[in-house]
Amino acid sequence: MGVIIEYLHLWNILSNIHLQPEVEDRHIWKLASNGQYSAKSAYEGFFLGAITFEPWERIWTTWAPPKCRFFMWLAPHKKCWTADRLLRRGLPSEPLCPFCDQEDENIDHLLVTCVFAREFWFFLLKQDNLHALTPQPIDFCFLNWWEKVNNTVQGAVRQGVNSLIILGAWTLWNHRNKCV
């Protein structure tokens, strides 16, 4: 029964279609805007629907040197060897932050919530009169703070500030490594 209904339905659709004998068939690749296959678009197509890594543009399109950008890619993945991660693996390490000696060290603390880091950001951003963007005590997460800053500024300034933040974070991290 269902087959006959489908057949009649199909008949209905096809009766409205007229072939044009002198026109060739055209095949369109939906994943590229020009309708032509490319390996790049096909490769990207396999990742369709995956979750976007929000700060990717801020990290990879700035003017900071590649090694700093690489560090900046590791930091949001929480893959830098900070004390909290070392201790979790039972490796010898000082649990307190080397800058303030008050709180436990982790990547968000090192880059944002530490008083030393806040002061560092204040002086760094003050040179360009952007000290209003300095992390406040309510900012707990480096990425959230960065996103907020990114949304506050526009155009070329945004590019500059993002580069500055990457370089600043890189400096903080290097300084921390020298202290430990």
């Binding site: 269902g2 369109i28 396999f46 990742f47 893959k79």
Partner: protein, 247 residues
């Protein structure tokens, strides 16, 4: 006869054939025919598998011994590089551009077995994190699946070999569809089912005379195919007809 043609071609184009570097590959030949061939063509007789256009050519699935040289060639790159003087960011570029780039030609043509991809990934991973071949889990700060994603998705933009091979080999399906005059176009193309399904989803057809659009499975009715519109009817159609019938 063959020799005459080759000589003639050599005279006309200046591209002379060096018979010492040639080999004869008989396909379904009798013993007596082989003798005739070897008397006419003074080349050495060899057999499949062989290399053709730089690729391993085999009648059967590639064996481990045939794939191993490819992996070794990649591993041989590393000792010459001053890995300790490079930052990880520099090594990332090296991995993507050189180690992965070397493979593009190969994976475009043939399907690398899963174990080979694993071996190659081991080399790529080791070089990225440590600058050498052997590496332990502790040296790798980020899981390899997360590294081999595009930048937008939180990766390092290093290609995932399996997906890369799929995307590249989809090209043959596309050419088969859009350029049916190619001599191989009517022959079956061996790709995994996922690739075929993905290709079907990504391609829609605009019918003109309908000669190169498959009636049942191509998506030609406003981006839909009849197999989806009438699945119960489609189940009754013989397989041969599904593959042949055009609009």
């Amino acid at each position: 006869m063959t020799l005459d043609i080759l000589n003639l071609f050599g005279e006309a184009s200046g591209l002379r054939t060096n018979l010492q570097k040639c080999s004869v590959l008989p396909i379904r030949c009798e013993e007596s025919e082989l003798e005739v061939i070897s008397s006419m063509l003074p080349c050495n007789l060899s057999d499949f598998p062989c290399r053709y256009l730089g690729l391993p050519l085999s009648l059967k699935k590639l064996t481990k011994a045939q794939v191993q040289p490819i992996i070794d060639r990649i591993a041989d790159q590393l000792p010459g590089w001053k890995a300790d003087l490079m930052t990880r960011a520099g090594r990332r570029v090296q991995v993507q551009v050189v180690l992965t780039g070397m493979l593009i030609y190969l994976v475009m043509a043939s399907d690398l077995p899963a174990w080979a991809i694993k071996e190659i990934d081991k080399i790529r991973r080791g070089f990225l994190w440590r600058g050498r071949k052997d590496v332990k889990g502790g040296h790798c700060l980020v899981a390899w699946v997360n590294v081999t994603r595009p930048f937008e998705l939180g990766g390092l933009g290093i290609s995932d070999l399996k997906t890369l091979g799929w995307a590249l080999r989809m090209r043959w399906l596309w050419l088969q569809k859009t350029e049916p005059n190619r001599p191989w176009a009517h022959r079956p193309i061996h790709v995994p089912d996922q690739v075929r399904a993905f290709f079907a989803m990504a391609t829609i057809s605009e019918v003109g005379d309908g000669a190169h659009t498959l009636f049942w499975t191509d998506r030609w009715l406003e981006g839909q195919c009849i197999a989806d519109l009438a699945p119960r009817l489609f189940a009754f159609i013989p397989k041969r007809r599904i593959k042949r019938r055009t609009v």
